[in-house]
Symmetry: C2
Subunit: 208 residues, 2 copies
DNA sequence: CCGCAATGGTGGTCAGACCACACATGTCTC
DNA sequence: GAGACATGTGTGGTCTGACCACCATTGCGG
């Protein structure tokens, strides 16, 4: 007897077809996708299976459902993903040190990229921001840095790790305006050694 | 009239209670959680709602369901992280260059950590492996490096990026045994500059 | 023209049914 | 007695149909 049952779970199959449907129809963030009942009919799966697929996508922040209106594609560039995870991960002590360590590595990576990619206009902008802003928040600073680094993937990774990080420490990191200023100046000079040492001073890193 | 309907969606409420249940009972990765039917009864929600909650958690990689057996807590350190995000992002040409760039950064990060953390025993083992193995596959080599770096989170990120990387290039990266050997030797000498230059030569990187 | 009730479409939830699978148990055969 | 087989039970997997809650639109009456 021929197996009519695909080995993959139905809800994953639905997600797959839904994705094809989205690309085929050229749907973009904000657009509405077909209703649950219509998907159920078009794809030949039960509505409950369709809903399971939608819940999975919703949890990932890829879609948004509004009762009485419909289901919409979200701008997945700002999905959360980790908020949930962080509450789970807290227990493992080793995981924490991994998070700290990795955040610092990624930030250094961002600095390295920024070092190569920042234009003088960017440097002016950054310095100006540091000088005029009320208080230099660490996450705001690196938000800018990694933007300048012009690598969206690295940016995403950093944001995710940052969320972990902030869920692990009681209060957000806070260093002095002077530290950020010297960091930004080292960047403007395109001086790698100075940049790294400025970062280390900021973080009070002991290693090399 | 008193609103009996919680404003939050039921499946989120179920996730919340499930989480409490897990911490209260001290369940750990690998442990089995109550069956769908039991959860449905204990929490007073329909089974389909329970299933929607489980699908959401499964999509995040927090649980694993096995037909006929039950639902189990996963080692959340294996969670997807960037996985889904990138499958959507891949279409973008800019995203590809981001992947390449980021993989290289992460590999350098791994090297830096390994530089600080590897024991002499590790160095022996690595050198021996390079000398005796049939062919030095790039992913195998860095698999080891990032293991030595002893940062599970970084390791997970690397594995994910590597998968994308390999899905973007026709054939896996392949460099000469000598290149890996000089890289390993530089590591053994704990010489940072030599290590980085060896990596750059391997990758034929133009930048500093 | 405005305001409002009716209507239809949408997601949200539930109950029940049946299937597919894994495992433990019991039973039969040799 | 030991091994092979059958069976039962519990589990996740899926579908159906029903009903509720909410939203937007329509169209009617003022």
């Amino acid at each position: 007897m021929i197996s009519l049952v695909s080995t993959t779970k139905v809800y994953l199959e639905i997600i797959k077809q839904l994705r094809e449907m989205i690309t085929d129809d050229g749907l973009k963030p904000g657009d509405k996708i077909p209703s649950e009942r219509e998907l159920s009919e078009r794809l030949n799966f039960g509505r409950s299976s369709v809903r399971e697929a939608l819940r999975a996508l919703e949890m990932l922040g890829l879609i948004e459902t509004r009762r009485g209106e419909g289901t919409f594609i979200r701008d997945f560039r700002d999905h959360r993903l980790v908020q949930l995870l962080s509450t789970f991960i807290l227990q493992d002590e080793k995981a924490k040190t991994d998070v700290f360590e990795t955040v610092e590595l990624i930030e250094i990576d961002g600095l390295q990229l920024a070092l190569r990619k920042m234009k003088s206009k960017d440097h002016e902008e950054l310095l100006n921001w540091i000088r005029t802003v009320d208080v230099v928040r660490h996450s705001d600073f690196f938000y800018r840095i990694i933007r300048y680094a012009d690598n969206y993937l690295l940016f995403r990774i950093w944001v995710i790790l940052k969320e972990y990080y902030e869920s692990l420490v009681p209060e957000p990191a806070q260093y002095s305006r002077e530290d950020y200023l010297s960091l930004a100046e080292a960047l403007a000079k395109r001086d790698e050694a100075k940049t790294l040492s400025a970062y280390r001073q900021l973080r009070n890193l002991s290693f090399k």
